[in-house]
């Protein structure tokens, strides 16, 4: 009997509807968290795993020593490296390709790299429409690294104490 009366009371006073409207009203007046991408962007962690880049030392020498650890560790077999001995006796890559279609952005390449040469940057806004350009060659990766070096260096510095 009591339950029946409670139900009738709720039904005729529209109490639950009003409760709902109160919540709606609260959010209506609250500060909005929606980001208007692409005009606005969310903050990104320094550990973000986006587009790859090959880095250079300050003097301009490429960091990669063609140790092939990234190629070996890559779970998607996305990296292809060929190397040879350069005239000065050091080992350098002649080919460093990452197939961005194969890549699963796990970050193992970055983790395995003994010289911090291959890194994943904050950049994630890129797309490919066909298969050819999806392969990032050594030149493209180095150029990308040069372009974003300040950001990359900053991110590594922030993360250094946890590594």
């Amino acid at each position: 009997m009591l339950a029946f009366l409670k139900h009738q009371f709720k039904t005729f006073t529209l109490l639950e509807l009003l409760k709902g409207m109160v919540i709606t009203g609260k959010y209506f007046l609250k500060k909005k968290i929606t980001v208007r991408y692409p005009e606005e962007k969310t903050p990104i962690s320094p550990r973000f795993r986006g587009h790859h880049a090959l880095r250079r030392y300050e003097g301009g020498e490429e960091r990669c020593i063609a140790c092939k650890l990234c190629e070996a560790v890559c779970p998607a077999n996305a990296i292809t490296i060929e190397f040879e001995q350069r005239d000065d006796g050091s080992r350098r890559t002649t080919q460093y390709d990452i197939d961005m279609f194969k890549c699963i952005y796990c970050g193992f390449c970055e983790e395995s790299c003994p010289t911090d040469a291959i890194v994943e940057t904050r950049v994630f806004e890129y797309e490919f429409h066909e298969r050819g350009p999806s392969i990032m060659t050594k030149d493209k990766l180095l150029d990308f690294g040069d372009k974003h070096e300040s950001q990359i260096a900053e991110d590594r510095a922030v993360d250094a104490k946890y590594r």
């Binding site: 020593i65 063609a66 140790c67 092939k68 650890l69 070996a72 190397f83 040879e84 001995q85 050091s90 080992r91 003994p114 010289t115």
Partner: protein, 705 residues
Amino acid sequence: MIKIEINGQMVKAHEGDMLIDVADDAHIAIPRFCYHKKLSIAANCRMCLVEVEGAPKALPACATPVTDGMKVQTKSVKAVAAQKSVMEFLLINHPLDCPICDQGGECELQDVAMQYGDDVSRFSEAKRVVADKNIGALIHTDMTRCIHCTRCVRFGQEIGGIMELGATGRSEWMEIGTYIEQSVISEMSGNMIDLCPVGALTSKPYRYSARPWELKSHHGISPHDSIGSNIIIHAKGNDVKRVVPADKESINEVWLSDRDRFAYEGINSEDRLTAPMIKENGKWRQVDWETALQFSADKLKHYAATPEMMGVLASPTATLEELYLLQKIARGLGVNNLDTRLRQQDFSLDSHGFVKPELKHSFAEVEKLDATLLVGSYLRHELPMLNHRLRKAQLAGKIVSSINTEKFEINYEINNEVVADDLLAELQLVVDALEKPESNNIDKVYKKIASSLSTAGKSSIMLGQISLMDVNFTKILKLTSDIARLSGAVLNVLPISANDVGAYMVNFLPEKGKNIQQMLTTQMKAFVNLSLEAESDITDGKLAIEAMRKAEFVLNFSLFDSEIQREYADVLLPIASFAETAGTFVNAMGTKQSFKMAVEPQGDSKAAWKVFRVLGNMLDLEGFDYTHSNQVFAEVLENNIETKNELVLEKIDIKIDKKKSIKNKTPLISIYEVDSITRRATALKTASKAVSETIIVTAPVQEVG
């Protein structure tokens, strides 16, 4: 037999065995760096420390003989603590350059450090740096990586026979190097690369060309001498990147001669012939296989009308299958002019039969020979691994004598050494010494040789390449067989090339036809050559080239392209190298060793046995429907044609004129110029230059003495 307990497991052992050997046999892993089963015990790395019940401190397993009832712990707290401490010491001065080290991925130190190393170093002082040494074209050094296990030093002393590397200084200042600046020239030096547990000694030709985990291993047989060393061909994709020894105790133990190890560079040479070529109206044209084979078949049919005017020559480095099929084609066409004895100059016994090239002892038995006489042989360069076995015999107190045309650098003491231009006169003196041991006119050394051979339990006479190439080979053979008969020694005519025995086996011999000398001196109309470089593989290269030039048609099955070939040949057919074909080599002691293809043939070249199969069918010959090289091998074994023509020396009367024979010294074949592949191995070429330079340096010293 005694019983010991390792980690609670009962293990049987012989009294006096070293603990590490016993553990190895029982598959109980003990880490080690300085210990190697083929080298003496140094016990200087201390990595194999184990806990032995009753001993106050951990003991090195490599230098602790087992005793009955011994209880050993290799994984106890005490043992592991000792091993970890040693590891920490070893890593103090070892650079962290694994990513740029060629050894990285196959490094013993790396492997052991994964188990016993700490992830953080407590050493904050400055690390030691040692200057790298340039020790030649074959071995690259990174001496900072050295952990002073002294395996390389012991190898030089005990196996190589020349102490080329040694340690100077002590503790922190200890360095491994050549005492005076010079190249390592041992013919087995490449083994130091395998022995080095770290990346201090690495292969120079292989340097920075692959990482170990990218390589695929393929079992193979080395084609550069008649030892038939078992090798592992390491290939990345379709490129042969390096060759390392496979363990085969009965043949090459764990070693490999430098020639077998570094000659692979030749197969990647730019000289490789990669497409069939035919010459029409004096101009070379690249054609497809069908055209080339049809052209060759037509020509061969044409010249087969006069089969006695056609010669078939093959390099004894070809496989058994290739030689068998080529002789089958030739005999099918009625051609009996077949030969592989490219270096021989004296064929006067051919009418009686053919000398069987053969080592009548197994390689292990050579170590046990009580007395050995080398006749005309620079064994160290001809068959480095056999020389190594003989060296072991000599060091064990057996007697090795030699009669040679030159004084060669041998890496052990030759007990009785005779150096003379005229081998015949010297051999005659040994015969005299055996016949008349009381005579006073004979020099002591001949008597010593004679008595060593006749009094020893097992004795052997080995005829090397210099005898084989001598213009008086028949007479040398006669005299040595007399010595053998009088002394009871075994006479061996050493096969030098990979398949000398195989060629004999498949009867690639001028049974009813002309031998190579007759072929080259009489006007032949056509020649078929199998992987042969006439100018350097045949002793009288000039004569050979002249004969080929005069011939109307020359068909070359060749690995390499060369100017001189293009001049005399009419068809060049590219064939596969030892790494690119399946086949069989029969080694000096008659062991038949088959191997499979490791990599695809380069360019458009094809395995020669396949080419012969097609050619046989094109020539409408019977029995060329093989689908696998095994079938060819099975057919060879079935036919068993080997014994038909064996020479029985005793039945033949060979006259030896007592007058001094005319001296006609044949030039020595350089160790790294034995076949077309080794001639194109660049690192070996540089290394052999270093060898000859060293000889020039020592020459004045001899003059003074």
